[in-house]
Symmetry: D2
Subunit: 500 residues, 4 copies
């Protein structure tokens, strides 16, 4: 085994959540409802958030963005300054663009079509090409977010193709995109043709809602889920109600991100008609069948392994137990306690209840192993607490490939499954056994067909072609051009005041 | 049933946590370790926190206090300004004294014995009497916290009884007190003779630690639990190490708060030699035996019912499930989202996964019902989600009486069990059945003898006499005295400038 | 007299300062020097400020903007995150664009010519026309500041005229502009052909500086003033040093804002070769000659009347005195004390020393009367303090017309001189006499020729044509266009789930 | 001359202001009026401020304290939480006690006489003795401010002397004290028998006011000055109006701080019946007579030399001019710009207008030279700006001695006049001449008798005896006592768990 793996000992090792979008059309408390919607979608992005409203009287958009968690950014005072009945919101974890306030979404712009704001969940794989083309024609960019490209495309003069400007724009972008758009007349929801990212429709008090996940509807009293936006569908909400168009040729082979079921989505969301927690419990059952083990206890890593552990316990008959206790206040504040924690080596996140694992053979169930450092520390802590055997079960296959559609995995060379064989991983983790659910079992747990899913991070098959030479950050890391704004010949050196 | 109950519809209805104390003697990172200790004890008090250190060079105490959560109050910069090898800390939920910065503990004072700081978990039942006596002799009070009385008593001239000043002071106070004291020479831990509140001893890197609960030692690398401070014991830590005295006559009948096991303490703490989560699982088993029911699922209210639900499931054979999902970011910020939430009626705290409870008979396990409003809403939500039957099981007896030893229950008239009969409660909650664990079962779950415990909140038997006329806030609500600082006869009216 | 004048009783009535720009090329402490430069230019804009640096290693621009005063926005920590040897900065009082963080300058953009940042002092009179044209071609705007137009123009493809892109852009804009530009290769300073706003060149430690006013060089140790940028001149600073071009036909009739001498500029600045305080003292002398009066004291309104009062005293022989005392801490904080002040009618800004004016005939010298409300209150306060006579002398002519070149005067209907005759004003102010310096005297005080100056706010003669129908805020107040992003025919209503 | 003087090159070198007090009795906006009063007294203390009100309904005192400037600490929201018709306030620069929030005044306490709050301007010379006595009797101290002693004395049981408790307390304290006291029944103003610090009475809308200086009344509309509190007088304001007592034997020899006239007080205040600015102008006249010089200009150091310079100009016939320009925004913010300034050597505070001093012989008038470093830099700057000669005139004698009555001068060894002879100072400053006003001239300028004043900082004659061995900070720097709270014999070592 490569003894130097992993080179990085970064403290944060779970894949970073991506983004969440939410929209309200036609409610007197549009900003407040958007606030609660984003609040329920907080797990999809903890870096920055923003809300844009279409102001009541002057139709002037009003917006507020900030860095941090939703309730750190918005309070009642802030929300009271966002009047209007139409609103879109966004929570973000950067997949392109640096993590700065300028890059917080929704992005707002003024153009020949009036004011437009866009919130984007996903990742465009040809953003850099489009941006180069747009800049060559005179465009200026204010952010390093790929979503700004969409705004530029919508601001372009029409090509007289007979298509609306939005359809013209969407014809040009490639990749994963679930969008909410606010114009001066309407709110629009868009999902790319392969349907990488979720987007669904709800209603409350006669107003329309759009949300990345259905769980956001559950915390708004009276709100109800209507249906998913379909892959390739555009829904337009204006004063005449909700209409739908499907301007693109439907795809046979879809690309819904299966990792949403495994990991990202909240267990109480229903995606593509199936409840997430139910899929996870199924995955646990499959896992128990594929990797049975004699043991005394099944313990989930809270809360990521909760439902798979229930399924594993049920299928295997091994009792379920809570041996890990979370420090509930972790991450609740401005101080990142992990900074101090790292320095002092303090185990802030999870504690083990020794009395529950002492002299026991335990099965630890989780939804992923990324770098492996945390899993390894956990095994060691369990042994120190007296566990006789430690068996690790993961409710999906090993991660070997980067995601180009909106998930920020570590660099492949930090993915343990990309670097080590199955046997080497088990050895590195010092586990008594290690079992990953295979792809077939994972798909079976969803009850749907394999060709509905993108599983590129597991199998490297990318449904939308990606230029392999381009790394994700090409969008902002490109070479500076250092062009002078003045011709050399224009500027003759010139003496003045005898000094220069 | 009394239709007007409950009069109050307050959103916050769980008994408020009380206080937590922590201390370090002899470690170069005393303040940092105290920070992590308080961090682990955060569940015992979320209102304010403070750390006092005995500064290195000049022996001058340095302190920082603030309102809010531990990591909101302290950051690396703040901690770097608290140098020294000795430190005590406190997290507080007010049981006496208003919730203000002035009242944040540890309280620091300068007196004839030098600087002293005190952190207190518990409640003194004769604080008001002692305060009146002290004031009559000339004392001035700067806080409305009962702990300030202890400082005053230690500042008094010795009574030449042969006892040390601390023992003299402790002879006068009555009630519940687990104390950490910082003097210029030592750190002292004290537990009252009945041992109402926990306090334990640990070690790390040769330094001594004191903590309200053992879980705080688990997050400090290398730290280990040594033993509990015993009821009536005083432990003195100075440069010569740790000594112990037991100056008071030992009591047969002790008063350890059994509600610490049921509710307050972290499941990973070991109190009086028994792990808290194990007691809770036992309680669930007892509950299943006392109140069996035919059902499809046992679901805990997360996380308060987790361990009792495991015991209930195990004993009854009914499968355990997670049907509730928490909004993880609730309470993590300065904005209290519940303010907006109340206004919009938003269900921010728990969401139900409909798919898991639909057409099921469910047993909901929790550790208490206080006002009943939340439990009732939960039953209704479960029925709306499709549950066929909802059975409620509570892992302790009904709460009928106020606590005078450090727990802030609502006024008895808001305690549902104080106002309604068992049948009326079940009817009010609209549950199909309701079962409380009885006192015998609760005690049996601890494996200890009944006479070790205070169960006053359940049975009204107060181990230390309480003046029934005194309500908890007497300490700060007493009448103003409005005495003039000037004698009337001294001040003859006097004209000046012809104007007055 | 119109008894209803003034309709508005706004507390703030002095013309608002406009903007200030600063730049550094080639200094290891570029951001820090820019900080101090902006600090000295704070009087030119107190609403927001920003600094952009060309980062050392990756040439990536880094920036920080904020609302408030320069030292409220920047601290050592912030400045340390702005590394690089090239920097431009801006302080702003909005003349176009709302007062929001998005509108803070310098504006930064990425375009086909790389990164560009611009800071602008002045006002473009054709910004709205250019913006409409740019939007028709597909541009999107992120601010409501006219300066963003300049960035767009520089991002356009070249017209192959042989001119550099900057010269092409400048050929299109009309109005007042002193600019500092940061590109990836250079820093550029530009002054419009009429030279409305000042801009000058300095040096420190071999590095080049640009500043709105020379006073900024005085607070940087070792820095020295080199010369003014001339009207119509472009100075380019890159690694080869400073070059200058004058691509435009020189103008006979210039337009330097004479109000800079009267009011805006700091007295210690030297503009167009003449010290500002000296001009003001000359104005006071002219005023004494034009409007002599028998009196006992000349008192300046601090600090705006200080130098004119010295000249008036010197010429008239009437002793100079300080009868007004300022509250030095006014405006120093986040709380606007004037809000409370208004409510309670508190006189926070100036106090009168009664003992100095009692039974005296006083001449009060100031640099302007805008609405008249403050001047009137001051007369009343002086009479209450015992002054026998109050004579008002103003060191410039009455303001009757709006400024379209960068100064934010109140609406003409709130300008007292636009509404009332000289006699009516004197009566309204309840002054014993009132004297304004006439235009000839004002010009004479500068020692320069009348055709060097813009005096449009006094005489209504606008050196660059202004569309009289356009008010200043047209740029952001234009009609919403409410264009749909989707063609109606594209979106056929569509049933789904049987629900809609 | 000692070339190493001054050892310290501290940036801040003016004597630090001391404290200011304010009180309101009987006004519905008591806290707001106190806010404005403190705002006007801000020059007397910029470190911390506090307001205490006697709450309307429950008579419970409410208070708010903070570090910083008055409007940084209080805003409308804060003030709205301080209801009540009686209020006292304090601005502080620490003369005893560290600069911490705990030490912010007014200090509030609860004692046998109810709640009492005290705000103190001055310094008690026997505070440490009284504190030792009080502690020996059992008192505990929460601050390191000498004013806390006063509260303790008032809390003591009466000595049955027939005097009220306040008079009993005042009989014990020695030194300088102008006090405002808030009890549950009254507001009391006290001035020590020698009258070191000012205190005066005002009225507004029928309510009574107390203030350190009369200028505070001028910014409150309708408020008027009534009279000074006399040395040794106690004024008691309660629901029956204002009464006065003079319980102490009047002193022949008083001790009003003459430095209040020279330096501390605002020029628009009237102290002991004389306007401060008038005294300063007189001092300038005396100075011109004592130290005449041939010169072209008299320039004040703004604003400290303004009035003396006017007097000097008038008496000498040399024209007055403003050659220094202040950076108005200095000190307005949280960032101390002087920190960066020091590092870069930036001249942030005053700029010289070269054009006004070029080839001129200038007389620079100021109110003090403390360390000499600033004065020296100023001379150098004037010469660099082209001044032919620089003559320094100071409107008081050299400072040679520390103040024990409330002013925080630097350590005597940093006082230039304590270390160097007159000739050496002139040489050090590199001035062409140097003239200090002598004590006789200074007293003459006040128009009062020498025996009314304390001039100890000039002549070392201390009106109240001071223990020469005690330095000012003895109060907080005393030795730690390190007494154990436990007797050694009580605590027998004790093994437990076999571990210790």
């Amino acid at each position: 085994m490569n003894p130097s793996f992993p080179a990085s000992t970064s403290f944060q090792h779970r894949p970073k959540d991506e983004c969440g979008v939410f929209a309200v059309f036609g409610h007197p408390h549009a900003a407040e409802i958007t606030f609660f919607g984003l609040y329920a979608l907080q797990h999809r992005g903890q870096e920055s958030a923003g809300i844009v409203v279409n102001g009541d009287k002057d139709r002037k958009f009003k917006s507020h963005h900030g860095m941090g968690l939703v309730p750190q950014i918005f309070n009642e005072h802030q929300l009271s300054k966002l009047p209007g009945t139409r609103s879109i919101g966004h929570v973000r974890y950067s997949t392109t663009g640096s993590s700065t306030l300028e890059n917080a979404q929704p992005i707002v712009a003024d153009c020949s079509r009036g004011q437009i704001a866009v919130g984007h969940n996903g990742n465009l794989v040809n953003a850099h090409v489009l941006r180069d083309e747009l800049e060559a024609e005179g465009a200026i960019f204010k952010t390093t977010v790929d979503s700004e490209v969409i705004l530029h495309l919508m601001a372009q003069p029409s090509n007289n193709s007979g298509d609306s400007i939005l359809v013209q724009a969407l014809c040009k972008v490639k990749g994963a995109f679930s969008l909410v758009l606010l114009s001066e007349r309407e709110i629009i929801g868009v999902r790319d043709s392969l349907g990488f990212r979720p987007l669904c429709i709800g209603q409350v008090d006669g107003a329309w809602l759009l949300s990345s996940e259905s769980c956001a509807f559950d915390i708004i009293p009276g709100a109800k889920f209507v249906r998913d936006v379909e892959p390739g569908e555009i829904v337009i909400i204006d004063e005449n109600g909700l209409r739908s168009i499907k301007p693109f040729v439907p795809k046979e082979r879809l690309g819904f991100c299966i990792f949403e079921y495994v990991y990202f989505a909240r267990p109480d969301s229903t995606l593509e008609g199936i409840n997430v927690s139910a899929v996870r419990t199924n995955m646990g059952r499959e896992l128990a069948r594929q990797h049975p083990v004699e043991a005394d206890l099944v313990i989930p890593v809270p809360d990521s392994g909760n439902y798979a552990a229930l399924g594993f316990s049920e299928e295997s008959g091994i009792p379920y137990d809570h041996a890990f206790v979370r420090n509930h206040y972790v991450g609740r504040t401005f101080l990142n306690p992990s900074q101090l924690a790292r320095e002092f080596g303090v185990k802030v996140k999870l504690n083990i209840i020794k009395e529950r694992v002492k002299d026991k053979r335990v099965v630890v169930v989780d939804d992923s192993i990324v770098r492996g450092t945390t899993a390894r520390a956990r095994v060691m802590n369990l042994r120190n607490a007296g566990a006789k055997e430690v068996h690790i079960r993961i409710s999906c296959p090993p991660h070997r490939f980067p995601c180009h559609y909106g998930i920020d995995f570590p660099d492949p060379k930090h993915l343990i499954a990309n670097q080590l064989s199955h046997q080497e991983i088990a050895k590195y983790l010092e586990a008594d056994s290690l079992g990953y659910l295979d792809a077939e079992g994972m798909v079976r747990a969803t009850g749907r067909d394999e060709n509905k899913f993108c599983m590129a991070c597991f199998n490297g098959k990318y449904p939308v072609a990606v230029n392999p030479e381009l790394e994700k950050l090409v969008f902002e890391r490109r070479q500076t051009r250092a062009e002078s704004l003045i011709f050399a010949e224009e500027a003759a050196p010139r003496l003045f005041n005898g000094k220069i």
